[in-house]
Symmetry: D4
Subunit: 223 residues, 8 copies
């Protein structure tokens, strides 16, 4: 860990503690970093963790929790006073296969203190499922729209709500979906207003931005 | 015209007379071909014609008609007995900029004897516009869905109707639409069932297939 | 299964029961969904199933059948009265390696009540093999043309028949086939009329559309 | 204009009046739409207008204003009471060639009632120019980062501010910039948090989203 | 012309005189090079010439000939003894729009002394047109297959003949043909044996290789 | 094997017996096809075979031979009279990693009766290695140039010889080589004359074409 | 010019004065910037200038010089003492069509004080032309290799010299050269050591880097 | 090893001994080549080696060293007199995940006799980390900038230093990073001067070029 520069001041600067991207981290390094952050901050969140990494971290932080769906690996010390969730965002998916990415977004936002409403499996091929949830969407300060295959969900949501839509293309699909590039292009070219896009499968990034917007809406820009 | 092989037998074989793709045809060649087909068949349809080509053909066939929107250049002799339009298809567009391609599809289908219902400017960013027209769509034997930008229209239509949807991506858009490739990918990756896709801006092709399906539905497969 | 929204009304709305895309479904979820649909509807069809998934489902539905070639996993209760197959479609392949996708198309169509004629291994590099089968193709209400590598089959078929051709590019090939993108582009750019295209390896989608067309032709648009 | 569906109710639904994308609109159509909206709403904003279009609209709305840089064509009746600009966003560019897109964003946001701070020509190849403006950026509720060529600006800005960054790739550049795709990919893959992306050259879209966020921050989520 | 290195020895080394790629050559340079080669060799062939370039060269070589279709600009002095054309190749096209590229191939081969059989407008959407010409193809030492759009012609020809097929993709088409990349991919991925491919619209290159093969076949490898 | 159409007449029609592309063939199918062809023709050649496939075929044809480098799996009955190799081609590689593809080409050509000269590891980064072998290249009726990475070898060879060069891009390389697409583009865009290209790693195809040319050169076009 | 931030201190910081990228600059802006830099520094260099821009600047700086080949627009006051050119670099091109880019590189390097050796039209299809100039290349501190089409030149040069090679892909070519992307990929994937690559047609960038290296070599790293 | 042409003279010609690219080398071949080079030169460097390859080589050269991070496999005989490292270059990374590529560059440069300063984990999302190291960068004769994801680091570094920057895109990232193509495009399109680019993950190539430049700077062009 002599090369890495852990950034414990980050929370002061940006309002967000550092989060660990677990995928590809060497075992020793991952255990060290979880231990150091847990000891210093009392809590750690990691994304894209494997079950193997969960087993490893559990050896040094026995109460660490692993969510198989979202692949989030979270440790919270008993000394940490639970934060009250504020405001409200909505996380929407086209299909059930998009749920892992959606949960990464939702649980990230919750870790950062945002209240989250989940609206899953409401893809545009059965448009009534989405229309049944318009009120929920309109109650949010920000909507995260998660979709793979052709990714059309974001455009329809964008036409239904007043608030910003963060579109997350997923790699769900096959053939000409090109690992999510197709859904990404769909969302970037959306005919609807109010839509901006993050990287393929980047639930974490969407949860982060939704939290930024939710805080601005809740704290009147005073955060 | 010594190299070209005009196919006057095509109507017998396939049930469709030959149609001229005007774009890029040398002037002399175009005039010759219109003249020959008009003299033989009494009618000619050309697609992607320019105003210049219209002026040229008018010198030999004075009653030729040019539609600036669809760029269709059509000549019909007075001797031709008007065909009754049969069955019904619907042609739907996302925006007004997609109308030229939609009209190429619609007028092609009409030339081939198909009754066409037009439902234009009902893109998904204002989903109520499309939902207001569901009954019209469900009355058709085939729906042609024409959309540029992100091309999400086809997926939503596919989820609303029982009949086949022919999706036509258009080159409408800018930036990452890559001349229509983005809309094409959207439609190919559609999460909805019953959708198949033709080339970018290929209104003619969609009108042709819609006619094939409409005839099968109308003539009980006896065409 | 609390997030997923099973759509038991779908058959009434679209004329087609829901079908399961097995690939990537978590084990528990897959077993639950097969059980629930089997109990409710008496039959279930799943595509892209693995042998492992077959073993799993067999534990709860002992008479489930798995076809290794098409990877279709189908369960039919004895109480279900066998449906008579109607009309006729043809499914054509370029090579033997395209047969898995073709069988997904054919068996899907059969599950939906369509009579299917198989014409396999008739690729254009030996054009006589295709020409020997022209009569079979012309007896169909719709032709599904399945081909990988350069995908030229669809264009030749399109020139031989009156009915719509649903072209299915496959990922068969290597090098510059780019996982099927090459065959997809070939089919989208076809010089022949009457061809529309579905996603790479999407046999299911082609079988679905062919059934839509076959029903329109058979029921005179009254389905 | 019989096909187009002007959406005068849009302001009630979304809080934003309709805006005209002028590029490619036929002359007659453009003049009609400007006239109708001006008569109904007292003001009209159009983007991507040409000088030729300005001349046309001036014939029916003499006080229409055209900004050559942003290509915005705006008409405001004297009866319209000037709106007070609220909150604050920042619009930042990498180079001078990115200013047209930035001005489209800035003037759009102003039209929608947002106060805008411009920070131009502060690209990362002279990083001190950007660092000199950190306080300005931190005073904003949202930062719009506009950059062509390699588009690195967004990542650096993202690391300097707490608020959401809307990244706008531009088509500025040559060679392997592929008309802005390179800058788009840079921004989508950004290592910094809090960045979401709109289409290439889509200043309008960025100004729209920045306004949504600015309103949420200013009205405490009560807009 | 001080930078350019004209290669008058090339004919000895490779058996082929130098040929001029006219497109993009500055006017002065083009005239100089034609003059110098004409004076030295008695004949010059240029490809991709414009009418403007024809007019220019005619001022110094009055008997220069320009073929508008192939865009070949050829000058032959009266002192040059006409060469007898040897062997036989076939040049085949899918459509009439491919003829300019085919003529570049054919006239190049003829300039290099090869006898050429032209078989044009025999695309695979009307396969009987090609089958009617199988004997002609089988009489050739090499077949040049020229096709745009989906470029399927090469595969069918490859399955019908014993000799090498040089496939030339053309930029003819629109939409997803991507300027000829689609036809190029088709030909590279061909399921037929004996096919190799040159660059898009590279009729010259195909005529050159066909001549190499024709000479080997005619001179028994003694050329 | 009821779907596959083995083509025992192929040798009469094209002068080449059928060859098996082993990769991806199901085990049962592969064994059957080897057995049937061996019994009928006395010899079988397969390409892209795995060691596992070798073990399988050996159970029914004990004297089958497997070459680990080229992955060619060949069986020849003792009753087959060895053919004399005729003419001469050269197979050239840029590096040692390209040798597997080169050997597929060379051994295919030898199976078809062609004499082959191997010139390996003569890539352009050490140009003297290639120049030392110019005489060998010039003695061939056709040169097969095999190269991965940037694939520059083909252009240099093309400038050194009179005979046709069949260029084979390989997937050797990493990063922006895109699985061989980079080398393919290099070869297609070659500035040298006389170069045509086959698919990435398609040694078999190059060996086939080289044999066609070698036969034409050796038999004076009488094959 | 109120938005632009001219950087007169740049020469002190980086050792290089600012250079103007003329292409796309509005007329007024260009004239202003030339005037201001000329008055301040006594000399200005601009790249990618048009003849129209030359005429404009001449109205305010009558002794400005325009080179039609390189499109460089340079103004030098009589008060500027001519700099002695130091060290030596070589600029090499594959063809004559690459010379404009090469001249941009060479004249940029000369403006920055570097002595330049030009070696043009030595592409790899006639390798002897390059080999004849090896001594010149080996006398340079850096070689700039400029090539379009397949761009193989850089690899061969890289294998012949000890010093760094700056490879410049050009957009010269047609068809699958994709505007220079093909040459760029060739150079990035080069099998030779010592090659690094700049953007397509970026002669200026190559001249800049070559000057950096030449100064390090000449001033012993003391610049 | 009969096909490979080991190049023991390379050090005299280019100043660099041959280095082994281990990835994909067959086991026998790798052991042979290490043994032969070790016996001849007393030292061998290999890149992209696996642990398995380390174990293999250790059987014949017991003192061979393997660095798991850089994957460099190096053997140095005790008879080799340690070289003094000369000059100075800097190797900079954006994140910790880029360190393997950076170490390949650094250790390659050290093997070739260059002194290396490492500055790791200073990506642009926390720009202060880079600014804190400007003095180190300015003390180098060349900077190697290693970055994945969006690769913005190179542009910022380019604006801070006088010496050439060798940019190395890495495959670090996910989604639309396309295996490093995104970072490669960023670096090729950089708005900063003095940046040239090598292949994705090509640390070796960057270490090689940095050594060439460092030698020129140190030996005053006399190397």
């Amino acid at each position: 860990m002599d090369f890495a520069k852990l950034d414990f001041d980050r929370k002061n600067r940006t309002g967000f503690p550092e989060v660990i991207f677990c995928q590809g981290k060497p075992d020793d390094f991952l255990v060290d970093i979880y231990k150091k952050m847990y000891d210093t901050q009392g809590q750690v969140l990691g994304t894209r963790a494997s079950e193997h990494q969960y087993e490893l971290v559990k050896t040094v932080i026995p109460n660490v929790c692993y969510d198989k769906i979202s692949r989030i690996l979270k440790a919270t010390s008993e000394d940490v006073i639970p934060q009250e969730l504020i405001g409200e965002i909505a996380v929407v998916t086209a299909g059930t296969a998009d749920i892992p990415v959606a949960e990464e977004a939702a649980q990230t936002a919750e870790y950062f203190g945002t209240k989250v409403n989940r609206v899953y499996d409401v893809g545009v091929s059965g448009i009534h499922r989405l229309l049944d949830n318009v009120d929920t969407l309109n109650g949010a300060n920000c909507v995260v729209a998660v979709a793979g295959m052709e990714g059309a969900l974001a455009s329809v949501v964008g036409g239904l709500v007043k608030v910003p839509v963060i579109a997350v293309p997923t790699s769900v699909g096959y053939g000409a979906n090109m690992g999510g590039i197709s859904a990404l292009l769909t969302m970037i070219n959306s005919c609807a207003n109010g839509i901006s896009v993050v990287n393929i499968d980047n639930g974490y990034g969407a949860g982060y931005i939704a939290t930024q917007i939710n805080r601005l809406a809740t704290f009147h820009g005073e955060n």
